[in-house]
């Protein structure tokens, strides 16, 4: 029986598997902390429904919440803490790409080395917030 999963593919899958489990667990734990009121949220739970009916630009303006990576400096708040697992899940692909890079380089798979490096750059730029933050 043929199994075409390459060395890189298996490495990628293993990292993704572990990371996804950690991320999902983190998502549930931080949401419990938020919902149970263990940590005070930046926006009181009862008031969130006033904001989710409006465009994101109005929400940011009225709530005083700063977009981008500002949540990282507010991890003591229940709602901001939830961005940690969300960001973690969104960073997983970059980690997986970086992990397969040495193997591709060893095999002198130049085309894929270049493609992987460009993809990492694209994702890092998207994650960095350099392309603008703050809504409409």
């Amino acid at each position: 029986m043929a199994n075409q999963a390459t060395e890189e593919q298996l490495l990628y899958a293993n990292i993704l598997n572990k990371g996804m489990l950690v991320g999902l667990l983190g998502l549930i734990v931080t949401f419990i902390i938020y919902g149970a009121g263990i940590l005070e949220p930046k926006i009181p739970l009862e008031q969130v429904q006033n904001y989710w009916v409006m465009p994101v630009s109005d929400y940011l303006q009225l709530s005083g919440i700063h977009a981008g990576w500002a949540w990282l400096g507010n991890l003591g708040y229940g709602d901001m803490l939830n961005f940690l697992p969300i960001a973690f899940l969104s960073l997983l692909t970059i980690v997986c790409y970086l992990a397969i890079l040495p193997g591709l380089m060893r095999k002198k798979d130049t085309a894929y080395v270049v493609l992987v490096i460009i993809e990492v750059v694209v994702l890092v730029v998207a994650a960095s917030g350099l392309l603008g933050s703050g809504g409409h």
Partner: protein, 323 residues
Amino acid sequence: MSKKFLSTLRYIFPLILFSLLFITATTVCATTEAAAPVEAGTQHAWWYWPLILLILSFVLGVFAVMAGVGGGVLYVPIVSGFLPFHLDFVRGAGLIVALAGALAAGPGLLKKGMADLRLAIPMALIASTCAIIGAMIGLALPTNIVQTLLGATILGIVVIMIKAKKSEYPEVPKPDALSQSLRIMGVYHEPTLNKDVNWQIHRTPIGLGLFVIIGVMAGMFGLGAGWANVPVLNLLLGAPIKISVATSKFLLSITDTSAAWIYLNNGAVLPLMVVPSVVGIMLGSFIGVKVLAITKPAVIRILVIAVLGIAGLKALLKGLGIG
């Protein structure tokens, strides 16, 4: 259990699910109209809408698996059409929902050799770059325009779902030069035939071109893009259907990552919406796999097409200021 009872159950179960979805949607719709705009005196308890979102996402998760579509394509039009959330936040949550689903499915598909990394990497680079552009356009355009375009896109997806054929093992007489130089080819074991199937692809440059459009649409509407990935990989490039479906699912984990970051960095991700949606759709998908064994997927598919059609029409009318 008698065969007759089981046979009846196969038809009744989808109808029960559909009724549940219909009741949730109509109840929510009535409440939404009464509650918008939200006044301090008419507010619900903070957990009310997240709970509705959890239940609806659960039902969508069950449907998505049985209809063979991604959760995002059902989530965005239905939640934005029938619940009080603004489209900006629904698209942000839709992308995280699609991303979480793709991340969960990815490892298994890669390990089995069904999702192919060499096929995915070039397509993902184009799609993820264009998804960033799509997300930026989507957040910059007025809501009514995005809503109208979303409605039109959903109705287009309905047509694709009705018309699109699939090919188990497409004929690829000769791989093109680009796919040959990138060594995009493979072999997988097909248990139904009990043999190894060799595959290769052709028309790679055209496929890459189409991923420009797919990426922009995925980012702009927060839909995920399995509905477009699979026909391109299978019918145009000539990858076997199983490789196409699995690689498409894995591709979403990369495409949606880039777009999700744009929504996240623009403040369009609210944990109170995202977490119940992700948990609901994942639990629903889990149950959907179990339920699949006792239902007629064809019946579910018809129901999903009908629901998508209604949601697409509602989005279109809402965008045009009629609905």
